[in-house]
Symmetry: C2
Subunit: 246 residues, 2 copies
């Protein structure tokens, strides 16, 4: 509990390696996570080779952690292995569809978060790269992912060489609903978001970007409609190309 | 680490309640999970009322845990709250698209797994219901989920009243790939799946269902092509209805 309570994403790592023994122990234990029908619908690609990190970096918008971390893990939704098993066992697999992608993506994200908790408990620092689904097509090419395999999360791992302040969180009441969903009034929004908007670092972002509100930083700069629409289309193309939209 | 290593899904609970204080502490700590742009793209609906459990049960194919657990949590991908914030702050939100759904679903599943780890560390038993995305439309109606909110995972929680044996897992080498994906040969499939196929309980399933192989239990009974195709269509309809496919 204390590990999770005190966690922060770590983007700078010492030059110390993360041993294969430790990594394997963490991944093996992480695989105790719940999984659909106990099928374990995932694969993890381990990147240690600098040449491979250099190829992956642009897919993650050149965030420095990709090349700076001793290990990069790409967590992939994988119905290929299960499908191969079926084909080798006189069974007709019907997993080339969207529901199966979502089932595999769910299995994969649960494994990923289990792994993160275990790694942080051992003192490792991790950073979750949400960019994985933005450029999934490029990652598929680099890692040679076959049909029915799609990357859904990337984690950079190493021994921490920084201790950044913890980021803020919304109050619990903002995301809990008793029995049924109560939609938000303007007063609720003010109450829940004002503390975030009042943080000096957020006020600074608004100022240097010449925006009127913090929300505009998200809509106009960080996560724009134009970018989201383009990346939605390319993600759906990736799902089709990988055989998940038959 | 030991908690995760020894975990098993718990489907039978004592009549003891799970206090709101404990539940809130766990959910608040779970929200330390990584989240896109620190936006916390999720909501959690807490069900304690028996009448609500009775309405939810059919959406989960009447699995007895729904009515048997003191608490049922429905974890929802939520871009509604963030969108309301933007609309109240002169910002133009562009989150009514598939990428945004996937971002919110990812945030939600990481939160969910964090919560599961914390709950199990406190001695609670949990069961993950993968049925949530199969019948998302019914759950949306029951829980009054608005546009840009989609349920992606359900957890039943309570104090354990059973200690079932741990289920098997594939060997680590079956889902780890060094540097790039190595596809599976028939010999790999034999090596990785034979121990599972040899388990007495799995041989028993094959026998009582009059099947030839364990894989056929999955393809012909548990997760059929016909069912997957139908539920893929209904899940995509749900995403459209909730505004995530504009």
């Amino acid at each position: 509990m204390e590990t999770i309570k005190n966690r922060r994403s770590i983007r700078k790592y010492t030059s110390d390696d993360v041993s294969a023994t430790l990594l394997n122990e963490l991944l093996e234990t992480a695989a105790r996570a719940q999984t659909m029908g106990n099928l374990q619908l995932y694969s993890v690609v381990v990147t240690r080779d600098m040449a491979m990190k250099e190829r992956l970096a642009p897919a993650h918008f050149n965030q420095p952690m990709v090349k700076g971390a001793p290990v990069v893990l790409t967590f992939c939704a994988d119905f290929n292995r299960t499908t191969q098993w079926c084909l080798n066992r006189k069974a007709d697999p019907g997993y080339d569809n969207f529901l199966s992608f979502m089932n595999a993506a769910s299995d994969t994200l649960l494994l990923c978060q289990n792994f993160c908790n275990l790694a942080e408990e051992k003192g490792l620092g991790i950073c979750y790269l949400g960019t994985t689904i933005y450029n999934a097509g490029a990652i598929i090419d680099i890692l040679d992912l076959p049909r029915l395999v799609v990357p859904v999360a990337t984690i950079t791992i190493g021994w921490p060489d920084e201790c950044p302040p913890q980021t803020d969180r919304l109050p619990l009441t903002s995301f809990i609903h008793e029995e049924s969903y109560k939609d938000y009034t303007p007063a609720d929004i003010d109450r829940y978001y004002s503390p975030k908007e009042a943080l000096p670092e957020n006020q600074h972002f608004v100022e240097i970007n010449k925006k009127e509100t913090l929300a505009q930083i998200f809509t106009d700069i960080r996560y724009t409609r134009e970018g989201n629409v383009a990346m939605s289309a390319s993600l759906i193309e990736v799902l089709k190309r990988q055989g998940f939209m038959e």
